[in-house]
């Protein structure tokens, strides 16, 4: 009987492995085409004209900041420095108890002013609004704590322009970040309602960005390098293919551009979920497909910034269990889209892929782990076969990761050759050194989701040298 159960578990795990690797391979092939197309399209762009033309669409950049004293000045400066003809930066201080607001006040000589705005979205009370005499395109909104979604909604109430760009306070951006994504929007603003682009991660993004492209290093130890690879896989091996076939289901909170009327139409960012970015993307797709409207949401391969990644296992688990919770919440909430042809590729590929690769994967990974002691107990464990299988899976994973590194390097030529070599060498170790941590975080996240936990569990900022 136990032997039958073990055989069933092994068969299920192998089937899952085969299916997920085939799907990944298909996404990589489509992603390769999309990457090449976008690279050529970007190479033919006239960025100088776009950066100086009065016909380039203005953008409101909104950054939600909660307990971000350590990074808020650096992030705000990188946003103000965007090479873009017309943009405003709206920093929303979400009732921080640390010195976030004081840091902003001192750095930008903020003065309180009253502004009257449309309250399109209901938010927590705004305590004060500040402007900077030295930076006329900076507005700081100080409000009661209400979460990130509430802060972005408060920013949307203040925003003046037709497109809005939501960003995280812990990300440092390239000067051309906005230009890179808006190049696509200006071609077809009637259809393109959302765009995002590739971001990577580092222990101290400011330090990495200080070096010019081509000489940047992959920051920190193996922990950061594995996270870096994780980001590359997500953007290059998945989202490019999703974007090409119309089921780009995750505009990450780190950098997302939306047409504002779309956000107004769908009711803005939702405060009912643990996290808001992925849910919003699902919601917009659901609405537009249900109504049969022509629209596009794109993910681009251009690197637009570096976000701060957790530099310890404890912090990483805290971050990833939250990500898992929001995925579970969203996938379950939009279950009517699963395998539903009415929702086209979103219903037939995108949502089922999330279900398979994100929601169910912790269960399958747990089963795979359970099968090891079970086979040992039954005396059917074969170390040689196990090692061969583990090696094969590790190198399949490494080959797919190498594709992501290749696509990124072709696109950005950002990192030094020796860092690329380091990433390539670390790729086969990902399965045994990094995946178990992520597996644990996902299980924890799924468990908390089942218990109805919606707390934020923000990871504590990495220690860094004073500026």
């Amino acid at each position: 009987m136990t032997g039958d159960v073990l055989a069933l578990i092994v068969a299920a795990c192998l089937g899952y492995l085969l299916l997920s690797n085939l799907v990944s391979l298909a996404f990589v092939l489509v992603g390769a085409i999309e990457n090449s197309v976008r690279r050529r399209e970007s190479g033919s762009q006239d960025y100088a004209t776009l950066a100086s033309s009065r016909f380039t669409i203005p953008v409101s950049v909104i950054v939600a900041a909660w307990e971000e004293e350590a990074v808020i000045e650096r992030t705000t400066r990188s946003l103000l420095a965007f090479n873009y003809p017309e943009h405003e930066v709206i920093v929303v201080n979400d009732g921080s108890s640390d010195g976030t607001l004081e840091r902003l006040r001192e750095s930008f000589q903020l003065e309180p002013y009253e502004i009257f705005v449309r309250r399109v979205f209901e938010t927590e009370d705004v305590r004060a609004v500040y402007r900077s005499p030295s930076h006329p395109n900076l507005v700081v909104v100080d409000k009661e704590n209400g979460g990130k979604a509430d802060s972005w909604n408060a920013g949307l109430n203040v925003a003046r322009y037709r497109y809005v760009c939501g960003v995280d306070a812990d990300t440092v951006f390239e000067r051309d970040a906005l230009l890179k994504v808006m190049r696509l929007v200006v071609q077809d603003p009637a259809r393109i309602i959302g765009v995002t682009s590739s971001i990577t991660t580092a222990r101290d993004p400011g330090e990495v960005m200080a070096a010019p492209p081509g000489r940047r290093q992959v920051d920190g130890g193996p922990m950061m390098a594995f996270q870096h690879l994780d980001f590359l896989r997500a953007f290059f091996n998945n989202r490019l293919a999703w974007s090409r076939h119309g089921f780009m289901l995750c505009s990450p909170g780190g950098f997302q551009v939306w047409r504002r009327d779309v956000l107004e139409e769908v009711g803005g960012y939702s405060t009912s979920f643990t996290c808001e970015d992925i849910e919003l993307t699902f919601r917009v797709h659901e609405r537009f497909l249900r109504e049969g409207r022509d629209y596009r949401i794109h993910s681009l391969p251009d690197n637009v910034g570096i976000t701060e990644g957790p530099d310890s296992v404890r912090k990483l688990v805290s971050q990833r269990e939250r990500w898992q919770r929001v995925i579970d919440e969203t996938v379950w909430h939009y279950r009517r889209m699963w395998f539903n042809p009415r929702y086209r590729t979103v219903g037939l590929i995108g949502a089922p892929f999330y279900l398979l690769s994100e929601t169910l994967s912790p269960i399958v990974e747990l089963l795979a782990l359970v099968s090891i002691p079970l086979s040992l107990a039954l005396g059917v464990f074969e170390p040689a076969a196990f090692a061969l299988m583990l090696g094969a899976v590790a190198f399949v994973n490494a080959a797919l990761t190498a594709c992501a590194i290749l696509f990124d390097d072709l696109q950005s030529r950002m990192y030094r050759r020796r860092d690329l070599a380091r990433l390539l060498l670390l790729a086969p170790l990902d399965l045994v050194l990094y995946r178990p941590i992520i597996c644990w975080a996902r299980l924890k996240g799924s468990w908390r989701y089942l218990r109805g936990d919606k707390a934020w569990h923000k990871f504590e900022r990495n220690a860094r040298a004073p500026a």
């Binding site: 090449s36 033919s44 100086s52 033309s53 009253e114 090696g391 080959a399 190498a402 072709l410 030529r413």
Partner: protein, 330 residues
């Protein structure tokens, strides 16, 4: 399985590292930017093709861009063909290339593309604005085009040419298409002249809300203080964006707008009261009163119109100013 996976990983790793090494070497070598005969021949073949797949299409665009950057003699001919391509992405890329060429025939092609409208007109307009030689009088026929979208862009593109098309632009402020009326009043607002003030004032009451937005901006520029009463009335417009444009225009007028704003402080419309108080705050009138005459009844009227947060902000700024003046005196 293991051998296949290992080989794939090793091969891909080599591709990454060798590819990057080749790129770094090419970047250091100044000769790598020159176009060889064989490469030029290949690029010409690609640029003149009719690709069917997305990937080949963009390969064609890359070839076109590369030939133009290298000033190859075949580039103009190929660009001419590409501009009229039925594929919008090819035509749009050719338009971007045209801006780099900047010859007279490039202007003609861009204007023709503007009339046809197969590619985004805002992108054509951006290229027309950066061209040298500038299109100038060649833009005037656009104002008489039967297509309102073309008239709109004609009116918009005339903004940097204050001596051209004044009469036609004034006529267009009475166009049947609201977009054309908006564009013409916006362009006229930047230049002034006879009849402009009247046209701007007339369009402040236009039935289309976005025309009122553009008219408000123009009235602020052209009329100055004399336009303030009309703009102050727009603070109670039904549309939020019109009220915002009116506030911007009144801010632009500055302290001369105060007389027109004070009566609005007691308006029955809360939006208008708020807006008037906000503009008085932004132009420094509130700060001057809060610092010099904090007990003034007028200041109380502004606070009553603007609310408690406006009062708190003004008092904080006044306190800050007092402290810094005391520090300076000490």
């Amino acid at each position: 399985m293991l051998a296949v996976a290992f080989s794939a990983w090793a091969l891909l790793s080599l591709v990454v590292l060798l590819g990057r090494a080749r790129y770094d070497r090419q970047r250091r070598d100044p000769r790598s930017h020159e176009l060889g005969v064989a490469e030029a021949r290949r690029l010409i073949r690609r640029a003149g093709g009719r690709p069917r797949t997305d990937w080949r299409r963009w390969r064609r665009v890359s070839a076109l861009t590369r030939l133009t950057q290298a000033h190859h003699p075949a580039a103009p001919r190929l660009v001419r063909r590409a501009v009229t391509d039925t594929d919008p992405s090819i035509a749009a890329a050719a338009i971007r290339v045209l801006g780099n060429l900047g010859d007279d025939w490039a202007i003609e092609l861009l204007l023709a593309a503007m009339r046809e409208g197969h590619t985004p007109r805002s992108r054509i307009a951006a290229q027309l604005e950066r061209l040298a030689p500038r299109p100038g009088a060649l833009l005037l026929p656009l104002l008489r085009d039967p297509d309102p979208a073309v008239r709109f862009w004609g009116a918009t593109l005339l903004a940097p040419y204050p001596d051209l098309g004044q009469v036609s632009l004034l006529d267009l402020t009475r166009d049947t298409d609201p977009n054309v009326r908006a564009a013409s009043v916006e362009t006229l607002g930047g230049r002034g002249g006879q009849g402009v003030a009247e046209a701007a004032l007339a369009l402040l009451g236009d039935p289309a809300w976005f025309v009122r937005v553009h008219a408000a901006r123009s009235a602020g520029h052209v009329l100055g203080a004399s336009g303030a009463p009309a703009l102050a009335r727009l603070l109670s417009d039904t549309r939020w964006w019109v009220r915002t444009a009116a506030k911007d225009a009144l801010r632009g007028i500055g302290p001369q707008a105060v007389a027109a704003l004070l009566p609005v402080l007691t308006s029955a419309d809360a939006f208008a009261r708020n807006g008037a108080a906000e503009v008085l705050q932004d132009i420094g009138f509130v700060d001057a009163l809060a610092f010099e005459r904090p007990d003034s009844p007028l200041l109380e009227r502004i606070y009553a119109a603007g609310g408690e947060r406006l009062r708190e902000a003004a008092e904080l700024r006044a306190r800050g100013r007092k402290l810094s003046e005391e520090a300076r005196a000490a």
